[in-house]
């Protein structure tokens, strides 16, 4: 379970997150929507400790992410993350990309790491591309590679930071399909997304962020059908 309590985040003097309170249960799929600059991506970075926070706390399975004594590298193994820019390691083949972290972080043998990698790559539909370098893969394939790379660490939570925003329109579908599959498998997911169809169909809850505040959270039927907040309605009217 992820518990976020009164989380405040500043970039310099810019107040990006203004007291966020949010619980994410095991097995839940939460979509986070909102305009650019509303703080939704920053929220993800605060959850896995890639960004320090200024106030409040984030607790993942009873471990305070930002506490001094926390082994953040160990905690991050639980929190897979997929980025807008897929960030595949260009000098490694698809298989090596996925096998690297299990080998050096988890200390798996080379053979075991390769097995895990091959398995995760076929899971996301890249079983034919094991020896391809990222440069030879399409954006959609690279993003699925990034998903496989995160999954190879056997995370308990997956954080998606606008995983489809940088893709050509015709490649968005295959990545969403993969995310949908993960959701069906019961993965706990927090998806920052602009894909309203995905948010509506796949999520258990949808959170709407507006200027650093979590304006509204509820089941997709509420957010998309009967939003309580004026800002939510306005935002949805504009994206549709």
């Amino acid at each position: 379970m992820i518990e976020i309590r009164d989380l405040h985040k500043y970039f310099g003097t810019l107040h990006v997150l203004k007291g966020i309170n949010l619980d994410v249960q095991k097995g839940e799929v939460l979509s986070v929507i909102g305009a650019s600059g509303s703080g939704k991506s920053t929220l993800l970075y605060c959850i896995n400790g890639l960004e320090p926070i200024q106030d409040g706390k984030v607790v993942v399975d009873e471990t305070d992410v930002h506490a001094k004594g926390t082994d953040i590298n160990k905690l991050r193994q639980k929190l897979g993350m997929v980025f807008q820019q897929w960030n595949s390691f260009p000098h490694l083949t698809a298989l090596e990309n996925v096998a690297l972290a299990p080998r050096i972080v988890k200390g798996k043998s080379k053979a075991d790491a390769r097995d895990i990698a091959a398995q995760q790559l076929s899971h996301v539909g890249l079983g034919e591309k094991l020896d391809a370098y990222p440069g030879a893969l399409s954006g959609g394939q690279q993003q699925r590679l990034a998903i496989a790379r995160a999954l190879a660490m056997e995370p308990e939570y997956m954080l998606f930071d606008e995983a489809t925003s940088a893709l050509d329109p015709e490649l968005v579908g295959e990545v969403l399909e993969t995310m949908r599959m993960l959701a069906e498998e019961g993965m706990t997911m927090i998806c920052v997304t602009h894909e309203m169809g995905f948010a509506r169909d796949v999520s258990d809850r949808v959170a709407f962020f507006h200027q650093g505040v979590m304006e509204e959270i509820g089941p997709p039927e509420q957010i998309f059908g009967n939003a309580q907040s004026e800002h939510t309605r306005k935002f949805l009217a504009n994206v549709r």
């Binding site: 160990k74 993350m81 000098h91 990034a146 660490m153």
Partner: protein, 220 residues
């Protein structure tokens, strides 16, 4: 009447060996300086990247001095003043020390550029997988950044190899010094300098070819 004393004698095959040996010395002093200088330079590059203000005030100006003062002046100053602080180094050792520092000062900026080339998003992706700072540096930044600045580094290495000719001013008999000795004896500067140039080329060319082949392999 006494026969004329001959000071000069023509170029012979043994002189080619003499030049060859000198070329090996050029290779050796360059190899040592470039290897050690690259390691030290990479560390300085990392300090420049990470150190921000402190490094800008300390390491950066020192590196600037070594990059900006002509190598020949550094060599002569160091060779003549090191004994004052109790360092009695022979020309070879003095040459290695100065060429190493010179290499390091050039490589530092190349290395910093390499780290910058990797970019924050890539490094965050590595860290998000649970890699430690050092694992990220070793397995992500080094290979990716290293490849990005490899051509620049090859340029530095070849430059230092040719600049090692300046160690001749200290009396170390490397390729250029050997050529000067032969020119004095044979009075055939054109031939000798052409040969010396050919030796330098023979040292550099395989390196540039190998580097080009590596880059091509990485580019796939």
């Amino acid at each position: 009447m006494q026969p004329t004393v001959t000071f000069f004698s023509g170029f012979n095959i043994n002189d080619l060996w003499f030049l060859g040996e000198a070329a090996l010395r050029t290779m050796w002093i360059s190899l040592l300086s470039i290897s050690i200088g690259t390691v030290i330079g990479a560390i300085f590059g990392w300090i420049l990247y990470e150190g921000k203000l402190a490094a800008t005030l300390t390491v950066a100006p020192i590196l600037d001095i070594f990059r900006s003062v002509p190598l020949i002046i550094q060599l002569v100053l160091f060779y003549n003043f090191a004994p004052i602080i109790g360092l009695n180094l022979d020309p070879f050792a003095s040459g290695v020390v100065i060429l190493t520092i010179y290499t390091a000062s050039l490589v530092a900026n190349v290395a910093r550029g390499g780290i910058e080339a990797v970019g924050t998003p890539m490094r965050r992706a590595a860290r998000s997988l649970g890699m430690t700072y050092w694992q990220d540096l070793r397995h992500v930044v080094l290979p990716i950044g290293g490849r990005a600045v490899f051509p620049a580094w090859v340029g530095v290495a070849l430059g230092v190899m040719k600049d090692s000719a300046l160690v001749s001013v200290l009396g170390y008999v490397e390729l250029l010094k050997a050529s000067q000795i032969l020119i004095t004896r044979t009075q055939e500067p054109f031939l000798i300098l052409t040969l010396a140039g050919a030796f330098y080329f023979a040292l550099s060319y395989p390196i540039s070819r190998y580097a080009a082949a590596l880059e091509k392999r990485w580019a796939q």
